[in-house]
Every structure is written in structure tokens, then in C-alpha cells.
């Protein structure tokens, strides 16, 4: 049963600290998406990759967020320095292709709390 995995599942940190979230997409999927879900909003797209290349990260605050795919089995989202307003659940999703009609498969999320 292939699934997207994310680590850590929960992270509590203090303001100003660096946070790294990791995602392992489903083997064979060539698109990876990072989303953020806050209390009052739906899912907000932060960045996405195709074949490990970043195609769009316009949803990310560039000054503090960065997303990379060091290899096909790992995607990372970093926040440095973290701020209390970054507290949210961060989801990674993967898919077979870039078309919006392709199903995105989500990981369980990383719940981030910045104190």
C-alpha cells in the first residue's frame, strides 16, 4: 500500500529556530506539492516540483521558507527563522503528472507549533 510519508508528525519549536520538514513521495510519482493548512483557511499551495525541479514557489514567503528535492525520494521544506504565524499543519502531496486532473496523494501532515 504505497503512501506519502512525512516527518516529523509534530514539531514544537521556539520563535527564531530553524524547522525542517521532510516528505517521501510515492515511488514513481514525479510531482510533489507542499501545502499549508491554517485554522481558518483551506489548503494553501506553497510550492511544487516536477521531476525534482521547482516549478512554482510563489506561494512561499521567500525570505524565510525554502523547498528542495535533493533526490526523487525526498522533499524538504525549511523555515528559517520560524515565527508564531507559521504555526499550521504542513502537507506534502505527490502525483503522477502535472495535470490538475491527476489525483494528488497526501501525506499525514506535520503539525508545527512555533512558540
Amino acid at each position: 500500500d504505497a503512501r506519502v510519508t512525512q516527518t516529523p508528525r509534530h514539531k514544537v519549536t521556539e520563535m527564531g529556530q530553524e524547522v525542517t520538514m521532510r516528505c517521501q513521495p510515492i515511488l514513481g510519482h514525479n510531482t510533489v506539492f507542499w501545502y499549508r493548512q491554517t485554522m481558518m483557511q483551506g489548503l494553501e499551495l506553497l510550492a511544487y516540483f516536477r521531476n525534482r525541479a521547482p516549478l512554482d514557489d510563489s506561494g512561499m514567503p521567500k525570505d524565510r521558507f525554502s523547498a528542495e528535492m535533493p533526490d526523487a525520494t525526498l522533499a524538504t521544506l525549511k523555515i528559517q527563522p520560524s515565527e508564531p504565524r507559521d504555526s499550521a499543519v504542513y502537507f506534502c502531496a505527490s502525483g503522477r503528472d502535472i495535470s490538475s486532473t491527476d489525483t494528488q496523494y497526501f501525506g499525514p501532515g506535520t503539525r508545527l507549533t512555533v512558540l
Binding site: V4, G42, L43, T101, Q104, F106, G109
Partner: protein
């Protein structure tokens, strides 16, 4: 500016009855709509979708209706079962654009 709106944060339905979840959108360029279901501590999972060339799509107990003139879609679940208790997200996209625009979600509670 929310382009996809789910105005009911929660909905409570008796087991066995019909659940109707609503979603409104503002962008007439959207041509593909999806519903995802999310359980606590899990990521969303795809449920059902509909293209703008259709007005109805059915999959077992789940049916999605699209009213383009009203810019409104709805998800019908019949009969509702306890396992349907979850948060339901509506999402939309346009053309070949990868980006899904999501609603804030509706929490469905199925009462025994």
C-alpha cells in the same frame, strides 16, 4: 479573496439520511472540480471529481452536481454512514493549471 467558498463550517446528519455539502466559486474559468475527504490526523484523500462539461458525476453513494450558471457545486452522500464523518474539502482548477484552489472545508458529523 476566496475563490472557492464552503460556507458551512459544519453539518450534522442522521445516519441513513442524505448529506448535502455545498461549495460556491467565483471564477468562471474553473473547469474542473474535486472533493477530498479528510479524517483527523490524516491527509486529505480524493473522493470524486467533475469536469465542467458535465453537470453530474456519480460514484456509489457519492454524487457531485455542478451548476455552472450559479457557480455552485454540491456533494450528495446517500445513505450517510458513520464512517462518512470527516472534513470535506472542495477544490477547483482551470485549464491545464496544476494549482488547486481549495475551500476551507465542511465538517460532516453523522449521528447514529
Amino acid at each position: 479573496d476566496q475563490q472557492v467558498k464552503q460556507n458551512s463550517p459544519s453539518l450534522s446528519v442522521q445516519e441513513g439520511r442524505i448529506s448535502i455539502l455545498n461549495c460556491d466559486y467565483t471564477n468562471s474559468m474553473f473547469d474542473y472540480f474535486l472533493w477530498y475527504k479528510k479524517y483527523p490526523a490524516e491527509g486529505p484523500t480524493f473522493l470524486i471529481s467533475i469536469s465542467s462539461i458535465k453537470d453530474k458525476n456519480e460514484d456509489g453513494r457519492f454524487t457531485v452536481f455542478l451548476n455552472k450558471s450559479a457557480k455552485h457545486l454540491s456533494l450528495h452522500i446517500v445513505p450517510s454512514q458513520p464512517g462518512d464523518s470527516a472534513v470535506y474539502f472542495c477544490a477547483a482548477s482551470k485549464g491545464s493549471n496544476y494549482q488547486l484552489i481549495w475551500g476551507a472545508g465542511t465538517k460532516l458529523i453523522i449521528k447514529p
